[in-house]
Symmetry: C2
Subunit: 199 residues, 2 copies
């Protein structure tokens, strides 16, 4: 879309929508037109929802989860076990853990992974705060539920080192065949891990 | 994401993002987290851009193009030929025509296609206004640049009927092999049309 065809307001909207993951320039144009076609049902409501989120949602100062209260509702829930911390890469991973419903402790959002290529070192991540929490005396186990990628596992290894002087147990999620997964579609590393951990 | 994990503001944002074409529930979650991770660079800016668009962008009262002025900048451009109207389904199609740079007349956005299945009849579309414009005496040709789908061609046929009593030429875009297109990937109808219109 050229500036001759559409006004700067529309171009700017398309540019910003194209920055969302999953939307490219072409789908951002479609999304912008979809919004403009439904000003009352969608455009105004999304504008209000974004302003509302910008206004109210904050990162929890303890675990970096997103919530409208600080500390977040998980960190302040009395029914959750404060002696186990599950460290995840992103808030989306925390949501995935919560959907599974198997974990009743607290979380720590690391905020990404170490990556020499992208210039992300320990200081760009939320790791020191995790070490501090783990050393508070209240915590007995840290579960490193980082993604099973190279960067995720490098980061898990680094965090394990940082926690090694503390009297806490450091565990990781088990590797294996996903429930419902077919062996034929799994990589060799997963099959080898599942075989090694067979019960 | 359950309401226990994320606040209503986040859930509402995800719900609205999931209504955009190209985003499902999963990618809407990712998009919402991406926005929340970048409050200043993205979230606030997108909220402002949406509010700005909602505030300023209107559908042109002549051709239904989106613009911040009414009539739109194409309808009011003195350099464009007012005697040729190119009818398109959506504003996105108008943009595509403008990108090609081959058309110097004016447009008319029909706003969709006739569809018995979706209950869309002539009154839900911007067709009467097109007939009115075509009968103003100023117009000598109407190009029906609707999509080459069944609904698009049904709609083109209907519009042709509605224009038949007027002294205007009604034309359609030619069918044929897309430039750069491979015969092997084309459907039989396109190949037949390209063969019939060979030069």
């Amino acid at each position: 879309v050229s500036s001759r065809t559409a006004g700067p307001e529309i171009l700017r909207l398309i540019d910003l929508l194209a920055k969302l993951p999953g939307l490219g320039p072409r789908s951002a144009r479609r999304a912008a037109l979809h919004l403009l076609k439904k000003p009352d049902q969608l455009l105004n409501q999304l504008a209000a929802a974004l302003a509302d989120a910008a206004d109210k949602v904050v990162a929890c100062s303890i675990c970096a989860n997103f919530d409208t209260v600080n500390p977040c509702s998980i960190c302040s829930a009395p029914g959750r076990d404060a002696s186990i911390i599950c460290a995840v890469e992103e808030v989306g991973d925390l949501w995935a853990m919560e959907r599974s419903g198997v974990f009743r402790g607290r979380y720590h959002v690391v905020g990404g992974t170490l990556s020499a290529l992208d210039g992300i070192g320990p200081d760009q991540l939320n790791i020191s705060k995790l070490v501090e929490r783990a050393g508070s005396g209240e915590v007995r186990e840290v579960i490193l539920a980082l993604n099973a990628t190279v960067d995720g596992q490098t980061t898990a290894h680094y965090i394990t080192d940082r926690l090694s002087h503390l009297p806490v147990k450091v565990t990781r999620l088990a590797h294996g065949v996903p429930v419902g997964g077919e062996l034929d579609h799994l990589d060799d590393g997963t099959i080898a891990a599942a075989m090694a951990s067979r019960r």
